[in-house]
């Protein structure tokens, strides 16, 4: 069951095809990674999902119905990459204001704010102003205001930037908790190790187009290069052409090998066992998302060129 479905979305600006025919589907309860280099069109895509921009072409289906920005925005929480809060406003009032703008009534909002403030150990901040907060503290506040109204769809753009490891973990746990409670999270970042840790499903966008779509597991399988690490006592000094693999390096005490085309991992083990070599470990090395990302995006110029678009 998908909560969000994008069908052939397009958004052209006068000098760029910011989003050029992107379709994707986000399932309920998923933590969905939206990846891409700078200027790939992620922010434009997100702004269309949050109702800030209207797409030039294509449809957005939200929770089974055509997306209606006026009413549906109250069920979406959006934390932009560039954080924004009123500097001179008191923190409690600010949270209240943003919650009310999302349609919460005063009492309900007050209860929610207090809950979250306790959870994040922010109770004493109520009368402080945002300008008095450190970057990490205002980050936490921003996160609270994003999820306060229990949105069905939460969009987080680089949620961990500027946070220390302790606070990062705090927010990460909350993200998992929110997903468990049925919220769907779209998570946009450049930090691939976070994506691997958190996301179930990823989409990679480059130059306004989708170039990769799948679960983290599938994507890794798709891009695997049959590389294994093997821990052994000894290794035959030289390998003849019959060996079903080649050694391409060492990692710690283990050897890294690539299995030749047409052979299977079992062939490797059999080959080594026949030679009387004892094996302690045998693991597949899957490519990291970072490697995949770089491989796919490499070769495209790091900054998009401006061009004239006739829509």
């Amino acid at each position: 069951m998908s909560i969000l479905e994008l069908q052939h979305l397009k958004k052209y600006f006068s000098t760029q095809k910011a989003v050029d025919d992107i379709s994707l589907s986000v399932d309920k309860g998923q933590i969905f990674g939206l990846l891409g280099p700078n200027g790939a069109g992620k922010t434009t895509l997100i702004r269309m999902i949050t109702g800030i921009f209207y797409p030039d072409e294509g449809n957005i289906i939200f929770d089974g119905k055509k997306f209606d920005p006026l009413n549906d925005v109250s069920r979406i929480g959006y934390m932009p990459e560039e954080r924004g809060l009123y500097k001179k406003m008191k923190i409690g009032e600010q949270a209240m204001y943003l919650a009310q703008l999302k349609g919460l009534d005063r009492q309900h909002a007050m209860k929610k704010i207090k809950d979250w403030f306790v959870r994040f150990e922010m109770e004493t901040w109520w009368n402080k102003k945002v300008e008095d907060l450190s970057k990490g503290m205002s980050q936490k506040l921003q996160f609270v205001t994003t999820v306060l109204h229990e949105p069905k769809l939460i969009i987080l753009d680089e949620p961990f930037s500027g946070l220390d490891p302790v606070n990062s973990n705090l927010i990460k746990d909350e993200i998992f908790k929110l997903a468990q409670n049925g919220s769907t999270i779209i998570f946009s970042t450049h930090r691939m190790e976070q994506v691997e840790e958190i996301c179930n499903h990823i989409v990679l966008v480059n130059k306004g187009q989708k170039i990769l779509d799948g679960t983290v597991k599938d994507v890794k399988q798709e891009f695997k290069e049959n590389i294994f690490s093997i821990g052994t006592d000894t290794m035959p000094a030289s390998l003849n052409g019959n060996a079903p693999f080649e050694i391409i390096g060492t990692k710690n005490t283990a050897h890294v090998l690539r299995i030749k085309e047409g052979s299977k991992p079992n062939d490797v083990l059999q080959f080594l066992l026949q030679q009387g070599i004892s094996i302690h470990s045998f693991n597949e090395i899957l490519p990291s998302l970072n490697d995949i990302f770089i491989k796919l995006v490499e070769g495209t110029s790091p900054a998009r060129q401006f061009q004239t678009i006739k829509a």
Partner: protein
């Protein structure tokens, strides 16, 4: 609608709750009044300071018994010549020394004025006037004209002005223009103060990047309108406080200055014809249609504010953090405001001139110019037309500003031009 209300409330409360708001609201009028009082006091004092002047009058122009002529103390010096006295007058304590050579009054010779430190044009002009007056008098006497008869033949009456077919009109033109100027000036001031407040508010939201968070909850148009209305309400609150203060002062004046209060009471009892000068002015003020003036003032203040605030908001959404950029961009908006002020100063003297009529109909200038005309009475057709134009123009600028604002508020890094703004406005959404 509920969301606009929330925005209005925030914009209003964050401004009104500030301590500086109350302070400025009360202090600014006091400072302005004090400033004017100081100017008037200095002007009066400067004029009343008497100069003393030493005179050697070889032409016998002056009556030597007069020691004070035209506000100057004259001391006539005998038994001295120009050559001998010009070295002495400073020692004797005079700043000025006038030497009148012997002359035929039909062919006067230039008198010479010596001065010790500095000589202002006002003083030398006054002395010129006195000398010329004395020569004229001598000539009249030489022509055998009786001075007393001449003086008694002079006339000094004022006109009774009647409007239309002779309806009673007790207002003085001076009062009308004064009221017009005050109204126009206030609208001018408010447009500037609150217009730039809207602009700064929009800039703050843009540079703080809070705009993106807010527009993911409300439409950009709601945010803009909420801000404009909220700040407009701050302006009205400020006005209400000022009116309240003025009314309070009126009640207090009789207690603080009992004499003035008594005069005031006498004037209101005796009606507008009761006295001259100050009291006539007060009487005249009373006969003005104050209700109408107040209503039109509120209408044009609000209309003008809404019209210009939308434009100021559009400009605020265009600029980045650089305040200088804002100044450049805002110039095309401030220009018509300043122009209206100039037209208004003409309109208070010639309320029916074609420039004044045009200015009071054209929506970019009408909020200020109409205030200049209002005290004289404006034909009802013109009034209605002007109001209609203003409403239409306000809808137009708001539409335009909303389009520009929607794009501008999420644009970073790049400075947009007016040309681009206009293109955004006419682009399909």
């Amino acid at each position: 609608m509920n969301k606009i209300w929330l925005i209005i409330k925030r914009e209003y409360l964050t401004r009104v709750r500030k301590k500086t708001f109350l302070l400025l609201t009360i202090l600014v009028p006091l400072i302005i009044i004090g400033f004017y009082a100081a100017i008037i006091a200095i002007a009066i004092k400067g004029a009343s300071e008497k100069e003393s002047i030493a005179v050697i009058d070889n032409a016998a122009l002056f009556d030597k018994s007069a020691t004070s002529v035209g506000g100057m103390d004259f001391t006539f010096i005998d038994n001295e010549t120009e050559e001998s006295y010009k070295n002495k007058y400073q020692e004797k304590g005079f700043n000025l020394f006038l030497f009148v050579p012997e002359m035929d009054i039909d062919h006067p010779v230039q008198p010479r004025l010596y001065y010790s430190k500095s000589l202002g044009p006002a003083t030398s002009g006054r002395i010129e006037g006195i000398v010329n007056g004395a020569i004229e008098q001598k000539r009249l006497i030489a022509a055998n004209i009786d001075l007393q008869k001449l003086n008694s033949s002079k006339s000094n009456i004022s006109l009774e002005t009647l409007k239309g077919k002779g309806e009673k009109d007790e207002t003085l033109a001076k009062v009308n223009s004064g009221v017009g100027f005050t109204g126009g000036f206030l609208v001018y001031l408010m447009l500037f103060i609150y217009g730039t407040m809207v602009m700064r508010g929009v800039m703050e939201e843009k540079t703080n990047r809070v705009a993106e968070v807010i527009v993911s909850s409300v439409k950009p148009f709601q945010l803009m309108l909420g801000k404009i209305i909220g700040i407009g309400a701050v302006g009205i609150t400020q006005f209400a406080i000022w009116i309240f203060l003025v009314m309070g002062l009126q009640f207090l004046i009789p207690y603080i200055f009992p004499e003035f209060g008594a005069q005031l009471a006498a004037a209101s009892a005796g009606g507008p014809q009761g006295g001259g000068g100050m009291l006539a002015v007060l009487g005249s003020l009373k006969s003005l249609p104050l209700g109408t003036i107040l209503f039109t003032f509120l209408f044009y203040f609000l209309g003008g504010y809404l019209l210009y605030a939308a434009l100021f908001a559009a400009v605020g959404s265009m600029v980045n953090e650089d305040p200088q950029e804002a100044q450049q961009m805002v110039f095309p908006i401030t220009m018509p405001i300043i122009l209206s002020f100039v037209i208004m100063t003409q309109a208070i003297n010639q309320p029916d001139s074609s420039l004044a009529v045009f200015g009071s109909l054209f929506p970019l200038t009408s909020p200020i110019v109409m205030m200049g005309r209002i005290a004289y009475g404006v034909p009802i057709m013109q009034m209605l037309l002007s109001m209609l134009f203003l409403i239409l123009a306000f809808l137009g600028t708001t539409w335009f500003a909303a389009k520009v604002y929607r794009t501008g508020i999420l644009m970073y890094g790049k400075k947009a031009t007016w040309k681009e703004m206009i293109r955004w406005a006419f682009r399909k959404s």
